[in-house]
Symmetry: C2
Subunit: 239 residues, 2 copies
C-alpha cells in the first residue's frame, strides 16, 4: 500500500529500517508547509540502486526531523544512455531545458558554449536543483547530472564515438528522419541564432553526426529540446 | 533581397505599395527600442492570405510611424487542421503551452475546464498576445486563435467527428502508437492530477478517440503538449 504523495530526493542511503535525518529545508517543507505530522508517509529516492522507498515520519520538528524507511516502492529505473547538449539561453529558458530533459529522460545534461552563445557561465547549483525538482515531480528515480559549461570543441571531443543527433534550423522544411543505430547518443540543440560556419563544418565532419529538421517553423531552443527528445525516445529510447 | 530582421504581426491588409500606420506600441518598439530610422526594412504579416511582406519605414516618430509594403517575402502557410485542447495550469505554464503550440503548428488553441482544473477563467487577451509573439518569432505567417475556456463536456461536443489524440498519464509505460487517420485532429492534454473517472469514461466512449502514452515518467502538462505535438506532426503533420 502506497499512501504517500510527497516525493523527496535525499543524499542518504536508503534501506529497510534506515533512519534519515532531514535537512532543514526538507523539515520546513514537510512540517511547516505541508503540515505533515508523526506517522505520515513520504517517498524518498537518492538516484542510486537503492531506488525509491516509503518512509514514515518519526520526529517532526520545525527545523529538523527524522523519517524511517518502511519498504521499497520502486527499484532504480535508469534513463537511456543519452546526453542533452545545449547552448544556454536566457535564465528561465535554461532552467526549463534542464527540467524538460529530466522529465523526458536523459542520463546527462551538458551546457555548451558556442560562438553565438551569450552566456559566459551557468549557475550549476541552480540547474542541478532544477533537475532534482523535476525528478521529484515526474516520478523518476534517477537525477541526470548537470555538467559545467564547456566550449563547443571540448564538448564535441568528449563524445568519443557516441552518436550525435544535431537539430539544424537551416534544414527547416525537410523531413525529420533519424538513424536507428543503438548505443549511446547525444542530442545537440543550437543557440538562438544557430551555429557559426566553423561549428557547422566541425559538426558535418563528424562521422557519427546525424542531422534532422524539426519542421517548417523555427523552434525556440527549449521547444526544440523537447521535440528532439521526443523523436529520439520514440525511435530508440524507453517510450 | 531580404534585409529585414524584425517581424511584426499587424491587423491591417498588406499588398504592393500599401501604407500602414503603426500602432503606438510598434512605433515605440521599432524607433525607441530598436532604433530603426527612415528607410529601414521590417517584415509584416497579418495571418491572412496576404502572407508576409517586406516594408520600409517612411515616417519614424516617437509614438507613431508609417511603413510601406515593397514586396511579398512569403505566402501564407497554414498549419495542419489541428486543435490543441488543454486544461489551464499555473499562469506561466499556460503562457508556455500557447507559445509552444504556435511554434509547433496548430490551427486553434482551446483551453478546457476539467473536473480537476483549478483555473476558473483565463486571460484571453494575454494568451492571444503570446500566440502573436510566438508567431512573430518562429517565422510563421499564421496565428492560431485562442478560444475562451469551455467546460469539458461542451469542448468535447465541439469535436464533431474530428479525431482526438488523448495523452493518458495512466498509460505510463506503454508504447506511444497513434492511428494514422488523415483529416482534422485535436490533441487533448490533461490537467495535473489527471482526468476524473467521469471524464475518462466520456473519453473512452468517443469512437474517434485514440489514446497514447508519453513514456515511463509523468510529464508536466507543458512538456506533454510539446511531446504530443511532435508525435502528431511527425506522423500526420507538416514536419
Amino acid at each position: 500500500m502506497n499512501d504517500a504523495k510527497i516525493r523527496l530526493y535525499v543524499e542518504h542511503s536508503l534501506g529497510q529500517g534506515q533512519s534519515i535525518a532531514l535537512s532543514r529545508e526538507h523539515a520546513h517543507y514537510l512540517f511547516g508547509v505541508m503540515r505533515l505530522s508523526v506517522g505520515a508517509a513520504i517517498l524518498l529516492f537518492n538516484g542510486t540502486e537503492d531506488g525509491e522507498w516509503r518512509a514514515e515520519v518519526i520526529v517532526a520538528g520545525k527545523r529538523n526531523g527524522i523519517v524511517k524507511c518502511t519498504f521499497q516502492t520502486q527499484s532504480l529505473q535508469l534513463p537511456p544512455n543519452l546526453w542533452l547538449m545545449f547552448a544556454p539561453i536566457k535564465k528561465s529558458r535554461t532552467d526549463f531545458i534542464v527540467e524538460k530533459a529530466t522529465e523526458m529522460g536523459v542520463s546527462c545534461i551538458l551546457p555548451v558554449q558556442t560562438d553565438f552563445t551569450n552566456a559566459k557561465r551557468i549557475q550549476l547549483d541552480r540547474l542541478q536543483a532544477h533537475a532534482v525538482e523535476a525528478a521529484e515531480q515526474c516520478g523518476g528515480t534517477f537525477v541526470p547530472r548537470v555538467q559545467d559549461m564547456q566550449p563547443f570543441d571540448k564538448a564535441l571531443a568528449e563524445l568519443g564515438d557516441r552518436q550525435l543527433l544535431f537539430c539544424d534550423e537551416k534544414m527547416v522544411g525537410e523531413k525529420p528522419i533519424m538513424r536507428k543505430t543503438p548505443g549511446p547518443w547525444a542530442i545537440l540543440i543550437g543557440p538562438e541564432g544557430g551555429f557559426s560556419k566553423r561549428e557547422r563544418d566541425h559538426l558535418s565532419s563528424l562521422k557519427q553526426s546525424c542531422t534532422i529538421s524539426l519542421g517548417p517553423r523555427i523552434l525556440r531552443a527549449d521547444t526544440a529540446a523537447v521535440a528532439a527528445l521526443t523523436i529520439w525516445q520514440m525511435t530508440l529510447g524507453d517510450w
